[in-house]
Symmetry: C2
Subunit: 420 residues, 2 copies
């Protein structure tokens, strides 16, 4: 389908200028940006009231964990995992993950997310949900010991082979964290990643305790352990990174590891807060994630932007600028996930974009659009979402909206899971 | 008009139970809560998919300052006031305030605010906007020296006399802050407040600098200065309170002063962050405010709840519970403002309530509704807003929606203001 977006305010993320332009989309790509409008189009979208920008990239989440949204009391990471999440995850079935994923994608697309990185189990179900909802993703199977006969790793590799040619789904390897691995297991995963040329998705230095235990067991930091295992020879996204030493940052920088900042989740689980500027000023690629809905409890990159900017006023070595935050939410995320030609609005780039109503009360007056995007945007201002040239959300509505059914099924699935 | 809300999930805020009930509203009051449904009603609202709760109270804002939304760079309070806000405010006209107020009320009502406390200039314009939009408010004229012939105070008193019998508008006196007053001026205001039985609205210990300067000038804290002037003999709401000594807290507690926590604004202006639990555990009435849109840049109590709960994980002496946060957003705010029978859903109470769609993707599954309200609610989930028995927002729409006109006029007004 060819789409012409006419006369929109445009933030390409190549720079921080707001321009007025027409955008022509052919199939899955942006083929023209400028003042011409003599295109053959199947759809014309009037962009007059909108700011069009690249869709958000959620670089760390576990979509199916919407099942556990608001489940259990507010507590720290390890209590939460040990006493509430892991006992239920032990009983998970494929269908739980399918509905949990679909439910998450409804919320994520409405909130302007056009691609994301996921780590979980029953990944085929998440991939199926992504195909049905037409959203771009990098999916990794969570890998943790014990892994008898390396069946988890093999499942992950099989998945990679299955989706190798897929336009929307990428597969990565997901060594969960140092506290659920050992050095040999990490080395094994790194070898497979090299052999199959797969990216890596890890949790890294999320809590003080993780670091302390790692020093106790290995006399080194989680970053040093992953490095020693060769994990960083592969393109890696590292979620959290709340507690990183200067030496850790050197390793991360040298190996082009991307760090995913999850402000809401880190605060909610009392883990701490990342000093963003310290990483940015070192030239490290930093992006944003929601983590799962069960430690957040939303799936909105706009919310992460707000929280991150506000809290960085106190917790970061300097405030974060609007454009830095918008980069984290878009182009840096795409770079982290290794998506080719995603994250900017540019000729030949994939047509992953969102259209935000900036002509409403909360964006008035237009004193500074970048500030308005960071601080004044409600998720419901996002009216159109296009992913790979497909209009997946239009005028604030899904095509063939199946929400009611998904909501009902997810509720039933979770009741069934608890009763198992 | 009589309204029957049938079969809704209900959080009364008398306790933290979620019940199922019918609510019958006669004129401006709730007259029945229970299982009966044999009422004569002009309107019946199906409550099946909704959680009905008291509307939010925004206990500190300057609504007309939507004009300055996203205006000027991110900086600290005094630079922001001196270099950006005050020069424009010097040129303000009545019509600016009227449109700025109307614009704010659109956003606030959509986000579930049913009453608020405002401090600004041209208060009649704000009052007019409130009457037109049918929202409850306590409005104070910002009082600062120089005040030749006490004309500002007199304007404030005239306003109070004009609205004394009004059902929706209360008037308070607004001594802005210690750094814009002196002891004699504060004493004068206190005397007037006693004479006319008016409540007080102040800024208090927002920044470290405010405290330091006050010690320099008066050898006492802002709280001690207000106390010495007799201000606290009157019912007082004190915005911010970021830097309060133990002695300050004793004074505040003893005088039943309510403290308004403005988390987003305090973070955005790098002012600091209030240790909420310290105040709550002392038995001080704490509520929530957005401050103005120009230091926020939204007007959403839901957002303040989220930010406050998340940041309190690190900044408060203990985490804040869901119910404590919901109390701050509703009943504590109503108490602070001295509104009679507001802030709970209870027979004989004023019908100020909101209906939140909890049957959508982001509230699924229903593991814990209180947690869901605090962490998973988008402003657009608020579908119905009733204030004083009037349905001001229904099915996500305003009656006789004038938004487009207000938006346009506010834009023009601000362009005109800058050019003056």
């Amino acid at each position: 389908m060819n789409i012409l977006i006419k006369n929109t305010q445009l933030l390409t993320m190549e720079d921080e200028e707001i321009k007025t332009a027409n955008i022509y989309i052919e199939d899955d790509k942006i083929s023209y940006i400028g003042s011409r409008e003599d295109f053959k189009s199947d759809r014309v979208i009037d962009g007059k009231n909108f700011l069009t920008m690249p869709g958000f990239v959620n670089a760390h989440t576990h979509v199916a964990m919407t099942l556990f949204r608001n489940y259990g009391p507010e507590t720290d990471l390890m209590t939460w995992l040990n006493d509430y999440i892991w006992p239920l995850e032990d009983k998970l079935k494929a269908e739980d993950v399918y509905y949990g994923s679909k439910l998450a994608l409804l919320e994520m697309i409405k909130a302007g997310t056009t691609s994301f990185a996921d780590m979980y189990f029953f990944c085929e179900e998440t991939a199926k949900a992504c195909k049905e909802m037409n959203i771009r993703s990098q999916i990794s199977r969570g890998l943790a010991i014990p892994d008898h006969g390396f069946s988890k790793i093999k499942e992950n590799i099989d998945l990679a082979n299955k989706y190798r040619e897929d336009k929307l789904i990428d597969i990565g390897l997901g060594p969960h964290a140092v506290y659920t691995s050992d050095l040999d297991y990490l080395k094994k995963i790194s070898d497979y990643a090299q052999e199959y040329k797969l990216p890596i998705h890890i949790h890294l230095s999320e809590t003080k305790k993780e670091n302390e235990d790692c020093y106790k067991n290995y006399k080194m930091s989680p970053t040093e352990l992953f490095d020693k295992a060769g994990i960083f020879k592969n393109r890696t996204i590292a979620a959290h990174g709340v507690y990183l030493s200067d030496n850790d940052l050197d390793i991360i920088k040298e190996n082009n590891v991307s760090v995913v900042h999850n402000p809401s989740s880190n605060l909610k689980l009392s883990s701490g807060f990342l000093d963003l500027a310290r990483l940015i000023d070192k030239g490290i690629n930093v992006c944003l994630g929601t983590d799962s809905a069960s430690s957040n409890n939303k799936l909105s990159i706009l919310r992460e932007m707000e929280v991150s900017m506000l809290v960085s006023k106190l917790y970061s070595s300097r405030p974060i600028s609007y454009i830095e935050m918008l980069q984290m939410a878009t182009v840096n995320g795409a770079k982290a996930l290794g998506f080719d030609k995603v994250g900017m609005i540019k000729e030949s780039y994939k047509a992953d974009l969102i259209m935000i109503d900036i002509n409403n009360e909360n964006h008035t007056p237009h004193n500074d659009i970048l500030s308005s995007l960071c601080f004044s945007t409600y998720e419901s201002d996002i009216k159109n979402v296009i992913i790979g040239g497909n209009i997946v959300y239009r005028d604030g509505k899904f095509n063939n909206d199946d929400s009611e059914n998904i909501i009902l099924k997810t509720k039933r699935q979770f009741e069934d899971l608890k009763a198992r």
